[in-house]
């Protein structure tokens, strides 16, 4: 232990004694105890839900939780959300140089550039007649609940840095992920589950891009804010199961003995960390029961599973959406799903429909399900890749595809007072660059934090002497126009 945690400090001093001595005001004490911790040990508050660093929220809290659907690899906005008839017109002709001159490209750098028209038809959906791909009929059916952003941009054009940027607001490894930030700020409402949970599924396609565990790292925030991956195969949480030959009852006997011996030692040693250790064993033992119950989707109705389009335990994106809802019901603050294999440098025509089918129905079902359960209004859903794709074709990797692209991408948000049925921003006539209401990843983060009641530029953590913010130093804006309430 380096710096004792406020909780520990409380134990150290004895709360009652401190108050009785009148050496510290009860308000100051409460702030000391509840304002999160140093990097040191965890507080026991997490065993009964934990308070975050923010004692009061400056903004109304529209979202109590976030479900972030990450389409890893970079889905093509030009086939899915951003219809460009002009691109069809110019299909196969050289890309006008005025668009691309002096720009950095990824795998197309130095190649001859040709326009590629959308490979799949679009259709109008919803009361506003929003055009999206026919590959996404289910999302189309809930488009009135969704705000589609067509003018997102990002700083990075390679997967690893782009994911880091999308998750942490920085391209430097080792910064905290948004899920960690949010739990640090707001704490968790769950008594026996981590506040930041990650689920990963993989398309039944080719060889998907890797995802590093740093994408859900706590970075420089205390470790307990790290994302915990729930796995659909093997143990749901690493080391969750008892060793072979040990029943839950026996595990309980051992945990009781450990707790008892630790308490006995505390009488001799007076180490405040011991109380924290006891609390962690308690929570671990509880998790051993609560996680399997959580993962058991057989408790869902047949109708629900049909709505999402999956079988219990099949490890699909749809199954993970069901789990996301179950996690949300249990008070988990930040739930992030990854669906891999959207990196269509090639085989766009062959592979994209498969990915679309894997996520379309379940993404929409999640919205419907949350509405049905009265949770839509205080859950923020975000659907995005890490970047968009070029209007130019890529043919140097086999059957035709599109390259990485950071100057335009489409994404959508829903729930938590986000304006449904809206289309925000636009790209130029070829979908190359965002030109109207151009927004950045930091703007997205600022907006998400705003929904959670957090003022992004006042939400900092001191690291290496600097006040770090999720939204960086360049300034970010809340996308006020997309907020209905």
């Amino acid at each position: 232990m380096t710096v004792p945690d406020p909780y520990v400090l409380q134990t150290l001093l004895g709360r009652r004694k401190m108050l009785a001595r009148g050496t510290i005001g009860s308000v100051a004490l409460a702030s000391l105890i509840h304002s999160g911790t140093s990097n040191a040990s965890d507080d026991v508050a997490s065993s009964s839900g934990s308070r975050g660093i923010l004692k009061s929220l400056p903004l109304p809290q529209r979202a109590k939780r976030v479900i972030w659907l990450t389409m890893a690899g970079g889905p093509s906005h030009l086939e899915l959300f951003d219809h460009k008839p002009k691109l069809t017109e110019l299909n196969g002709t050289p890309m006008p140089e005025s668009f691309t001159q002096g720009q950095q490209l990824a795998q197309l750098q130095g190649e001859k550039l040709f326009c590629l028209g959308p490979m799949f038809p679009f259709e109008r959906y919803g009361s506003q007649g929003t055009e999206i791909s026919r590959l996404l009929p289910h999302i189309g059916s809930v488009i009135d609940d969704v705000c589609l952003v067509r003018s997102m941009t990002t700083d990075a054009i390679n997967h690893d840095p782009a994911h880091m940027f999308m998750n942490t607001g920085s391209q430097i490894a080792g910064r905290p992920s948004m899920g960690a930030w949010v739990n640090y700020g707001l704490g968790s409402e769950s008594e026996d589950l981590p506040g930041f949970v990650v689920l990963v599924s993989t398309g039944k396609g080719r060889s998907p891009q890797p995802i590093a565990a740093r994408q859900w790292s706590h970075g420089f925030l205390p470790s307990r804010y790290q994302g915990v991956q729930l796995r659909s195969q093997g143990e749901a949480v690493l080391y969750l199961s008892n060793p072979n030959g040990v029943t839950r009852e026996q595990q309980g006997i051992d945990v009781d003995a450990i707790q008892s011996l630790n308490r006995q030692q505390d009488l001799v040693q007076h180490d405040p960390e011991i109380a924290a250790r006891i609390a962690q064993y308690e929570m671990a033992f509880q998790m051993q029961a609560s996680v399997p119950e959580l993962m058991d989707a057989s408790l869902e109705t047949k109708e629900t599973m049909e709505m999402y389009g999956c079988e219990p335990g099949d490890g699909s994106f749809a199954s993970n959406c069901v789990l996301a809802r179950r996690l949300a019901e249990r008070g988990v603050r930040f739930i992030q799903l990854y669906h891999r294999d959207w990196d269509h440098h090639s085989l766009l025509r062959e592979e994209l429909p498969l990915r679309a089918r894997e996520v379309d129905q379940a993404s929409a079902a999640l919205i419907k399900d949350l509405k049905h359960r009265g949770m839509f209004d205080d859950t923020l859903i975000v659907w995005t890749g890490e970047f968009g794709r070029t209007p130019m074709s890529q043919a140097n990797k086999g059957p035709i595809g599109r390259d990485h692209h950071n100057r335009s991408m489409s994404m959508w948000l829903a729930g938590a007072g986000i304006r449904g049925g809206m289309v925000y921003g636009a790209t130029d006539e070829l979908g190359y660059a965002a030109v109207e209401n151009v927004c950045s990843v930091h703007d997205l983060h600022a907006t998400m934090l705003h929904r959670l009641g957090i003022q992004h530029d006042a939400f900092t953590f001191k690291f290496q002497g600097l006040d770090f913010k999720l939204t960086g130093v360049e300034g970010a804006k809340v996308l006020e126009d997309i907020l209905a309430s």
Partner: protein, 851 residues
């Protein structure tokens, strides 16, 4: 790692007060009084830096109203204050203002001064607004210390006296030996060693002898290396994207050896940064230079070289900043530092030192240099000679060969046969296929390139030739023998310098696509001492020598501050990677300066410093927190006691393996793979990888040797806060999270250790259950068990005996966890039940805590 709460809410209430010069004891929760005589570095700079420098500091491009407050003359030229007259000073008027347009800091900065902070600033101006240089840039000043006692004790106690505090008593011997073992070699002592230390009343110097013994124990190097490897971000994989392996483990062993041989720290530094440039460069110094290659790299197709060139430069600058300078440099990639005098120019000039390193930017790392023992080197020499000899004999028949080759070419071209290496089912290796491809093309070509001509000859002589079979097979045999031997040698990527240096530009706003910035040459940061090296381009060797020159104000302070943390749980200045304006003025500046000056004066002698620290009475105190100390100095910044803290991830593993008798404590070698949950690596790709755990001794090696996969660090290590080593890490966090309980309870490593410990208890311990529990407790905790503890464990034992008697198969299942063989059937129930006793012991807070 920083402590935001401590700073934000605690700065005034908790930390600030005790860092004051001795003054009346303050009461927790109340702001300490503003001292009568305000000191700039201690009292004022932290306020200005945190609240003002962002807009009125060193960064010219972001400066508002042209005003800078980090420079007295400049501030006065802008009429920020009138020394001696606080009330009429603009600075005071603005911080006291009620007008939201006028008040400083402005509301949108989300910064607010407390009444105490305002009072400090007022008093400072009233007293003349004197500035001081930032403490860590001033030369190191050795304080006066007597020869008659340990200087650390003298300095610590001088301050304690002033504060009216008394040091704590010396810890009992069992605690002392356990502490020393933990801190110096990272392993628990055996009960015999404890007994020898505790029970021998005649030996006056037993403590000193124990220290000497441990300092010369080869595990000392491992323990010191563990911390160093965090700092330099040592890992087995490249870090970005595919996160593929690279050959670096010989560097880890180099670090261990360096600490064990007590290589002077200046030499250690120079070898790592410039081991290839030394006049006496040898294998050892070149392996040291692997340091320069430890950064993150990528193999991602489509990544842009310029992008990664810039990332790699920045990575290296941050490394020098964290490891030696204790300066945060990262922000200067885009703009001048907002709080310290480190400029963007300093950033790129520092990066330019590394522009000569030969390496692929977007590429797999090369295999690296063969690292050989003396015997291996002479064996390789023999094999090389034998090969040259055989080759010579083969070449002696060159004319005949040439004729034969012509005939062969004619024949094969006319026959239009496919070369066997190119057949779809060929078992040839990649190099052979590549060669054959070139040959096939060459044979078809109307005009051969010189490469093709060479390749055809090479192919003919190595693969195709039919006549001269004896000569050829002798040659090929010699070649195979040599290559097989070479392949088996350890390899290490090292630094190689090239004349074709990458040009380094100052990148405007850090944007690698903007090439408008000027070219820069290697240079030392302008605000630090500048040796006279005019007239030539500076090299990495210059950089290394500069870092460890005796005039350098930072390096020795940074290293000693980190070393202090190893033995007391916290640095004297608590922000280990920032001794700049936003870091912390050391609680005890004299003590840090003493350590730094002693370190330099001793010839950068690390063991000397460790010895000095652990020999002090300060180090030997109890860790017990009295109610008085809890109130006055809860974070133990004054060292009126020792601190207790949890062991590092690796040490927790080593402890369990050691007390269970499983530990294989050999030093060095390739990284090992402990048991790991299935599919933990499933999100890795290019290529997909399956983790294959070691099936032999590798399973029981120390945690230090565990395979360090940056993007998926072993989950047990991760749970106990081992860093991923993607960035340099000066200080590990120490958390206390539920995953730690799950690891100690359920990770097969710990379950297997429990059953091995149970077997030891039954095999080596006494006969009765009660005595066995006492024996086990002594093995694990090196202390006698208390009656209450024995009762708890006896009860637990009988419960499990009952369960396993009812279900012997369950006992067997438990006893099959891990690689160790399953014992014979008649012992199952007893052993399984005792495994639970052992498991409880390995899970105790006391077991994993150094106190």
């Amino acid at each position: 790692m920083l402590y935001p709460i401590a700073i934000r809410i605690g700065a005034a209430m908790l930390m600030g007060a005790i860092s004051l010069q001795p003054s009346p004891l303050f009461v927790l929760g109340q702001a300490p009084p503003v001292p009568d005589r305000v000191e700039f570095n201690r009292d004022v700079r932290p306020i200005l830096s945190d609240a003002c420098f962002y807009c009125h500091g060193p960064d010219a491009s972001h400066r508002q109203a042209g005003l800078r407050l980090d420079d007295r003359e400049d501030a006065m030229a802008h009429q920020a204050f009138t020394p001696g007259n606080a009330i009429d000073s603009l600075l005071i008027q603005r911080i006291e203002s009620d007008d939201s347009d006028a008040i400083m800091p402005p509301p949108e900065s989300n910064k607010k001064l407390t009444p105490r902070q305002k009072e400090v600033l007022k008093r400072w101006i009233a007293q003349g607004a004197e500035y001081q240089n930032h403490w860590s840039y001033d030369p190191i000043r050795r304080p006066e210390v007597p020869d008659t006692e340990n200087a650390i004790d003298f300095l610590v106690r001088k301050r304690l006296n002033g504060l009216g505090l008394k040091p704590s008593p010396e810890a009992d011997r069992r605690t002392l030996i356990r502490r020393l073992y933990s801190d110096l070699i990272g392993l628990p002592p055996t009960p015999d060693a404890v007994n020898a230390f505790v029970d021998n009343p005649f030996e006056e110097d037993r403590y000193e002898r124990l220290v000497e013994g441990l300092l010369s124990d080869e595990h000392y190097g491992e323990q010191m290396a563990m911390h160093w490897l965090d700092a330099v971000r040592f890992a087995d994989t490249i870090g970005y994207h595919s996160d593929n392996p690279r050959n670096v483990w010989p560097y880890r062993d180099y670090v261990i050896r360096s600490f064990n041989s007590n290589k002077s720290f200046d030499r250690f530094t120079i070898e790592q940064i410039a081991g290839d440039l030394l006049p006496d460069a040898d294998q050892e110094t070149r392996v040291g230079s692997c340091f320069n290659r430890l950064l993150l790299t990528t193999e991602e197709g489509g990544a842009q070289p310029k992008d990664y060139e810039s990332r790699m430069l920045a990575d290296r600058v941050r490394a020098i900043g964290t490891i030696w300078l204790g300066q945060t440099t990262g922000c200067a990639q885009c703009h001048d530092h907002k709080f310290d005098p480190f400029t963007a120019r300093d950033f790129y000039s520092l990066g330019a030192f590394f522009a000569d390193i030969q390496e692929g930017i977007i590429a797999p790392r090369e295999e690296g240099m063969a690292v050989m023992s003396v015997e291996q080197r002479s064996r390789l020499k023999q094999l090389d000679e034998a090969l040259a000899d055989a080759r010579k004999q083969f070449d002696a028949i060159a004319t005949q060969l040439e004729d034969a080759q012509k005939a062969w070419e004619k024949e094969i071209t006319e026959a239009t046969v496919i070369l066997p290496e190119l057949a779809p089912d060929a078992s040839s290796d990649e190099a052979q296929k590549k060669l054959a491809k070139s040959v096939a093309e060459g044979l078809r070509a109307s005009h051969r390139t010189s490469q093709q001509i060479q390749d055809i000859q090479k192919y003919y002589r190595s693969l195709a030739v039919a006549p001269f079979a004896d000569e050829r097979s002798r040659w090929q045999q010699a070649e195979k023998e040599r290559n097989d031997f070479y392949r088996g040698l350890p390899k290490c990527i090292v630094t190689k310098s090239t004349d074709k240096k990458r040009p380094v530009r100052l990148l405007p706003r850090g944007n690698w696509m903007d090439e408008s910035g000027e070219l820069v040459q290697p240079a030392f940061p302008a605000y630090l001492p500048q040796p006279d090296l005019r007239g030539r381009t500076l090299t990495r060797l210059d950089l290394a020598q500069w870092l460890v020159s005796s005039e350098h104000p930072l390096t020795a302070r940074v290293i000693m501050n980190r070393l202090w943390k190893q033995f007391f749980g916290m640095g004297l200045s608590k922000v280990l990677d920032d001794l700049g304006a936003q870091g912390e003025l050391p609680v005890h500046p004299e003590l840090l300066d003493f350590l730094a000056s002693e370190f330099i004066a001793s010839g950068w002698d690390m063991k000397h410093m460790v010895r000095l620290i652990v020999s002090s009475k300060t180090y030997r105190q109890v860790a017990t927190v009295t109610p008085e100390l809890a109130l006055i100095d809860p974070y133990n910044r004054e060292h009126a006691r020792q601190s207790a803290f949890r062991g590092e991830a690796e040490i927790i593993r080593d402890y369990a393996l050691k007390v269970s008798g499983l530990l294989d404590d050999r030093i060095g070698g390739p990284s090992v793979k402990p048991y790991q949950p299935d599919r933990y690596w499933e999100n890795l790709n290019f290529p997909p990888r399956t983790y294959v755990a070691d099936t032999q001794e590798g399973q029981y090696r120390r945690g230090l040797y565990a395979w360090w996969q940056r993007t998926y660090l072993h989950p047990s290590l991760l749970a106990f806060d081992a860093p991923s080593r993607e960035e340099c890490c000066a200080e590990r966090v120490r958390s206390n999270i539920p995953q730690q309980a799950l690891v100690l309870l359920n990770d097969p490593t710990y379950v297997e250790a429990a059953r091995a410990l149970a077997a030891r208890i039954l095999r080596e311990g006494p006969r009765s259950k009660r005595e066995r529990i006492q024996w086990g407790m002594r093995e694990v905790l090196q202390r006698p068990a208390r009656d209450e503890e024995v009762e708890t464990l006896l009860e637990l034992l009988s419960k499990h005996e009952e369960r396993y008697e009812a279900s012997p198969d369950a006992a067997k299942a438990l006893l099959q966890v891990g690689l160790s063989s399953t014992p014979s059937e008649e012992t199952w129930i007893e052993l399984a039940a005792w495994t639970h006793v052992a498991r409880v012991l390995l899970n105790l807070h006391e077991t994993i805590t150094r106190s």
